[in-house]
Symmetry: C2
Subunit: 341 residues, 2 copies
Amino acid sequence: MTRFLDACYRRPTDATPVWFMRQAGRYQPEYRALRARYDLLTLLRTPELAVQVTRLPKALGVDALILFADILLPLEPLGLGLHFVPGEGPVLEHPLRTVDTILGLRPFPVEEALGFVLETVRGVRAVESDLPLIGFAGAPFTLASYAIEGGGSRHYTHTKRLLYTHPHAWDHLMQVLTDITAAYLRAQVRAGAQAVQVFDSWVGALSPRTYRRAVLPHLQRLFARLADLGVPRIYFSTGTAGLLPDLQALDAEVIGVDWRVDLGRAWDLVGGAERVAIQGNLDPLALFAPPEVLAAEVRAVLDQAAGRPGHIFNLGHGILPATDPDQVRRVVDWVHAATAS
Amino acid sequence: MTRFLDACYRRPTDATPVWFMRQAGRYQPEYRALRARYDLLTLLRTPELAVQVTRLPKALGVDALILFADILLPLEPLGLGLHFVPGEGPVLEHPLRTVDTILGLRPFPVEEALGFVLETVRGVRAVESDLPLIGFAGAPFTLASYAIEGGGSRHYTHTKRLLYTHPHAWDHLMQVLTDITAAYLRAQVRAGAQAVQVFDSWVGALSPRTYRRAVLPHLQRLFARLADLGVPRIYFSTGTAGLLPDLQALDAEVIGVDWRVDLGRAWDLVGGAERVAIQGNLDPLALFAPPEVLAAEVRAVLDQAAGRPGHIFNLGHGILPATDPDQVRRVVDWVHAATAS
């Protein structure tokens, strides 16, 4: 139970803990069987089913569970109209495109609007005594970019245009999303989540200068509002090798990094093992390699951590749907065997 | 004439030179008028028209011209069937998906197959005496990923699978593409190109470990084969802030970086102004900001170069089609005014 949480606090562990972003869902046959009967939003909104999906990866031998949910769920009660289009991903029916609409946004009571997520958290904790449960939310920038673009984006044209042209509206939007996210994560912890991860999946689109000005202050406020919860706070982003030195200004227990930077170098850039734990960073595509190549890739990540306490093994981004669960199981076993003390 | 070339060799200049990736085309009304009459492949393959497009950005006050061409042109004589689908970008009709097909690939004589590009180079040099002409080609990895995926890609699944599973086929493909690219750039310089840029636009998808093993040795061979040409060699990539320390092993006169890393830090990571010149790195989206915000962004890039010789001002990636040419002109004027000695 304590291996993952100990590593978050950089305490020695009996082996390096391992879990996988997106481990609940997609690539697992048991999940696909459920999806054949229910659409994605139904699965997400039905606590009984979401509890079941959250616990599926136990069979893989992971050291933590992560809530089965979606970072975009809070955009629905904001009135943006969330849909999942098969093959295309999430689409927001009413993207934020005017300053007036943005300035009119207000936080909503998360306990009511997202009660089904909290119910899932309570449901997992009621039946699960072996593994800690990680709650999560989207980071304000990543939520804002989805809300403004209306879905995934290549250039973030609308987002950056707003940020450059209407800094007042941008800051209001970021403040509202920060307030919602803080309340949402606090509620998840009250419901039983034992750690929280903030996903800033798309913030790598920004220059360090823009990040420092338009994003980091909001993240600092968000993390400060989670500081008294007594659970580890993980900040995860991708494509941000150029931003890592700026993350020294963020008060988080764990920094998650993608595979586009050597894990050891990333750790040094965010302040080293004396300051923060690190999570990552196998390329999710390495799971498509032959086992002997995969083993070498896993070994290379572990070598970068070089036996320092505070390494949580993970991918650099979510597991892809076509991944073979046997490969995932191999990684878990190898990480544990290679680091057992 | 010499401002850009001097900066490439880190010699003092009368002002910081500036040019823009993708400056020839797309966002210019004169280009769009031509495109209304000719499709893209016709424009690319008709030297008389390509010469005209190459020279259009002169009106903006830039310090160098870059050949109007496309990095994927060499994939056509390789038999992959190149098309440009409006709104979707390039599509290859016959992507490389089997080891046998890849092992059967051989370099082709570039002077015959891509003679129209060389004709364009000669055509520009015959009429242009004010500005140096930059030739270019796609880097082996970026060409390989297009060839294997059949177009743009999000996860590079087929590419990474090949690289992990069939390293022998991967190396053969990279060698063939390196041979073709070296011959192609040598032919461009013989035809009159006064600098060459190698575009590794998608290599940021790789981990540093994979880059060092599967890509860098081929790049080193490519750059070695261009060393005797007596023109500056520029290596450009995006999303590669985590790979910059590895680029110290590449013998290039100039490293181009995107906006996802502070330019001054990037320069230090690739060896500093004592070793190499740097090109970049304004976010192309900054051109959509109000002029006063754009001015501050330009200033921030220049401040990072801090008066060191060897800075070539550019974007961090290509100009987007919706860009206002007046904004581009402003940037040119500001860079020159702010750095005039």
